[in-house]
């Protein structure tokens, strides 16, 4: 009986091993948000906000950009303050036993003149710097070394003095390194107005009181020190800052146009101001060789009488604590240049080719040049485009991405678009896949809003649009997870430039209605 029982049990277990041979699935009708966005002129132009014109009738696209800001390293040469003193031990003290704590009564004084090209510095003021020392010694006994830089003073007028402890070398030449950090030190490099680029040092040495026995010198003993000024954070420099010539091209992106294009566009007068500022106490000359606007692969040269001409820049001055820059300004307008034609093409980038020369007349100021951080020489630009347009087939496109769970078998779908137009321009929509295939939208255009003569909104226009997708198209859309949403704007009246105002928007909402089968494992 038991065997039969077990047999039937086994049969039932085998029959009962009814593994899940197909997935669990069901049909559902889901609506998913895809995107909500607001389009306005600022968004189309890729800026955070627009400024209002003085008469408040339209907005202005205002882009300030900096072509050039010379760094400290551009204006000053590489200040390599590195020098070495060998402390020669007089032979007459050879063989004398010096007790611990005894200081040799000899001062080793040095004047080091540094080669800085044509730059002749009288005075240099550091916010901070590092004095790095490297000492070589083979002396058998601990030493101390008193380092003085008489021409370096802190902000209390106290000259630099420091004591460096040197461990015993036990007769073998050894190297000892260390650093001293200095803040707010003024270095007088003029040697009492008799020289330039000059640093004086005075060094004495003695025997550390830590020694337990007397120390004897012999003719093999050697002691030298190498000093180097590093990590120079310069506050100011006085003297002659030399003649420097800089030639360069600066490029700047002025409009983010990757999302829009237009067959033709009419705009009102734009302006481009180039402001050159000299914050350094040197005379300078600048020459703008070319201003080039770029769009895609094409370039358009800005025509203006100043192009290729030398502009003299007066030096910065400091009078009674007031710091005054030497300025020059070039104004490009529709009257003196071809700026309007170029801006109508919505260029993406601007290139500025320039030459800059400091002290073109040499040491004209008799060593009265100065550099004060953070003042520098800069070229800034200010582009203003009044937003009064007439558009023809102005196309703004955006790629819309979305996420949908996997393992679905959609039967069909509807892309729903709810749109509200506050612009005084007509707008037509187009939805495309990334491969360029367009989706059919019934009644894809929405008329312009009603506005008064000042462009103020009277009544916006609302529209609901639907795109019906079959199973295959829905599958493609879900696999791609992206589509391109295009808005094509056309002015309602070709003869008038409509003013763009800050509060004109086009709102859209997109959802995806899916009738689908969902599968789970």
């Amino acid at each position: 009986m038991k065997k039969k029982y077990l047999f039937f049990l086994l049969v039932f277990i085998l029959l009962g091993c009814n593994k899940r041979d197909h997935k669990v699935s069901w049909n559902g009708h889901y609506i998913l948000p895809i995107s909500i966005d607001t389009i306005n002129a600022a968004k189309i132009l890729g800026v955070d906000h627009l400024t209002l014109s003085n008469d408040e009738t339209h907005c202005i696209y205002n882009n300030n950009f900096e072509f050039l800001q010379l760094e400290q390293s551009d204006l000053l040469p590489n200040l390599n303050f590195n020098w070495r003193d060998t402390l020669e031990i007089p032979s007459l003290i050879h063989g004398i036993a010096f007790p611990p704590g005894f200081e040799i009564p000899i001062s080793y004084n040095e004047n080091e003149v540094f080669n800085l090209g044509d730059v002749q510095i009288k005075e240099i003021n550091f916010n901070s710097l590092k004095l790095k020392y490297t000492i070589k010694s083979n002396i058998n006994g601990q030493l101390y070394l008193i380092l003085k830089i008489p021409t370096a003073q802190d902000n209390l007028g106290i000259e630099f003095t420091d004591t460096i402890q040197i461990p015993s070398s036990n007769g073998v030449l050894q190297t000892f390194e260390g650093s001293i950090y200095l803040d707010n030190y003024l270095f007088d490099l003029s040697k009492n107005n008799s020289s330039f680029n000059n640093i004086s040092t005075s060094i004495r040495f003695g025997f550390s009181s830590n020694n337990t026995q007397n120390i004897l010198f012999n003719n093999e003993d050697f002691l030298s020190i190498n000093l180097n000024l590093e990590e120079l954070d310069i506050n100011s420099v006085y003297g002659y800052l030399g003649n420097k010539k800089i030639s360069d091209t600066s490029e700047f992106e002025i409009l983010a146009t990757e999302n829009f294009s237009s067959s033709s566009i009419t705009i009102e007068d734009p302006e481009l101001n180039v402001i050159i500022e000299n914050g350094v106490g040197v005379d300078a000359q600048i020459k703008i060789n070319e201003v080039l606007f770029k769009k895609d692969q094409a370039s358009f040269s800005l025509q203006h009488p100043i192009i290729g001409q030398t502009i003299n820049l007066s030096r910065a001055v400091e009078v009674a604590g007031q710091y005054q820059y030497g300025n020059a300004e070039i104004n490009f307008t529709n009257q003196n240049s071809n700026l309007k034609e170029i801006i109508s093409l919505f260029p993406e980038k601007i290139d500025l080719k320039y030459e800059l020369e400091t002290n073109p007349l040499g040491n004209h100021s008799a060593f009265n040049d100065f550099y004060k951080s953070p003042h520098s020489i800069s070229i800034n630009s200010d582009l203003k485009i009044p937003l009064k347009f007439n558009l023809n087939h102005f196309k703004y496109s955006d790629t819309i991405s979305f996420n949908i769970i996997e393992n679905i078998q959609p039967n069909h779908a509807i892309i729903g678009i709810k749109i509200e137009n506050e612009f005084p321009i007509n707008c037509c929509l187009s939805v495309k896949f990334l491969n360029g295939d367009s989706l059919l939208i019934d009644s894809n255009c929405i008329a312009s809003a009603s506005v008064d003569s000042s462009g103020l909104l009277i009544q916006s226009n609302l529209s609901n649009m639907e795109i019906h997708l079959d199973s295959a198209t829905t599958n493609y859309l879900i696999n791609e997870k992206k589509f391109i949403f295009e808005m094509i704007f056309n002015s309602a009246d070709n003869s008038l430039n409509f003013p763009v105002l800050d509060f004109q928007n086009l709102y859209y909402k997109i959802d995806l209605e899916l009738n689908t089968e969902i599968e789970i494992n």
């Binding site: 049990l9 277990i13 009962g16 669990v24 069901w26 889901y30 948000p33 979305f402 209605e513 899916l514």
Partner: protein
């Protein structure tokens, strides 16, 4: 599913027959198995299809109810093997119990959102009362019978314990097809089973207390019982998912995630993290009360049963049976609660010498397709070995 139940019963029954009684003077071996699954709104077929696979049709998804109607669905499998025995004229008992339950309590709208879609949702779905659990506990009961009933202790090994409970004012609002609003701050924690037979990630300690008048001569009998009332200590590899978020979803490009430190890493909040702090929770204790009234060969009974923290609606029942020749009992029982609503069951018992079998089909109407929202069976086998 029926095959599975049969197999489970067969294995357990065979194990009972194989038990040995050693030197005890009196020994009763008891096997008690209860299996049920049910739902307050779902058709039985959905459970079959979710387990064995298949396509859920509209009938499987149940009727379309009000979005805010609270629904329950659950499954329980309660396997018991134990014995009662005499030592020094005192009756003791031991019982090994493996209880596996999984259930959920949710608003109809949440079910519809997943299985029907959100196109017809016209109001927000509250998550405040939404909770789910899955557990697999091994429990060892032992204790002693007294005149008033019995008292014992329950030691437990927590094989699995998953708990999800949403917070106050949590909701999902998908009524605007262009913009969803979700507020969610659930308490989600779980421990998983270990490969070690003895060392588990959680243990429990509880007590059993049963008060009854066990004098079968009386016409009116009562029974009050509480089983496994105590605490569970989840002490190893406790994982929790913790987030408190209120956000608007209007498409991938415009997520507005609030109440999170950084939108870059907000998804990390949804990943389980090991919680180094132990967690003490109340055991899913069971409480029951019943009254029997016997007159001639008729027995009338009623009672209530509840299991804590299991999304369980207290179940009330009312039954009657008739004894035929002291060997066969047949009757019917009406019940309401648990994971389903009204059930009409069949109550039967048969006795042969030392062997007694009690079988309750908890939802007889299960066999009528439009009414088969649940299925349940209770089987009690006892055999007096000595």
């Amino acid at each position: 599913m029926k095959k599975l139940i049969f197999i489970i019963f067969s294995i357990i029954s065979y194990e009972i027959n194989a038990l040995s009684a050693d030197s005890l003077k009196k020994l009763v071996v008891i096997n008690q198995t209860q299996f049920s699954f049910g739902s307050s709104h779902l058709n039985k077929k959905i459970f079959n299809k979710l387990y064995f696979g298949g396509k859920l049709n509209d009938n499987d998804k149940g009727k379309i109810n009000s979005i805010n109607q609270l629904q329950r669905s659950g499954l329980e499998l309660d396997l018991n093997v134990g014995s009662q025995f005499y030592i020094n004229e005192k009756i003791w008992y031991v019982n090994f119990q493996n209880i596996i339950t999984t259930a959920g309590q949710y608003e109809q709208g949440l079910f519809d959102l997943f299985f029907r879609g959100n196109s017809e949702l016209n109001q927000e779905i509250s998550l405040t009362k939404t909770a789910f659990h899955l557990r697999n506990h091994h429990l060892f009961h032992f204790g002693k019978f007294h005149k008033f009933g019995r008292v014992g202790i329950t030691l437990g090994s927590i094989n699995q314990e998953y708990n999800i409970r949403f917070g106050e004012n949590n909701y999902v609002d998908l009524t605007d097809p262009y913009q969803w609003n979700i507020m969610s701050s659930p308490d989600i924690f779980f421990i998983e089973n270990t490969s070690d037979f003895l060392q588990k990630n959680g243990n429990s300690l509880g007590f059993d207390l049963e008060i009854s008048n066990s004098n079968y001569e009386k016409a009116l009998q009562y029974n009050l019982a509480i089983y496994n009332l105590g605490a569970i200590l989840l002490h190893n590899n406790l994982k929790k998912i913790s987030y408190d978020t209120n956000f608007t979803y209007s498409g991938l490009s415009l997520n507005q995630i609030l109440n999170t430190d950084s939108s870059d890493n907000w998804l990390n909040d949804f990943k389980p993290k090991i919680d180094s702090v132990n967690r003490l929770i109340i055991t899913p204790f069971q409480i029951s009360a019943s009254i029997n009234y016997q007159k001639h060969n008729f027995n009338y009974y009623t009672g209530v049963f509840y299991r804590y923290n299991s999304q369980y609606l207290p179940k009330v029942y009312l039954g009657m049976n008739y004894t035929i020749k002291n060997k066969l009992i047949l009757g019917g029982v009406l019940s309401y609660g648990g994971y389903t609503k009204l059930q009409i069951g069949i109550d039967s018992e048969i006795q042969f010498q030392k062997f007694k079998a009690k079988l309750i089909i908890q939802n007889f109407t299960n066999f009528i397709p439009p009414m088969n929202r649940s299925f349940g069976v209770f089987l009690n086998l006892s055999y007096c070995l000595i």
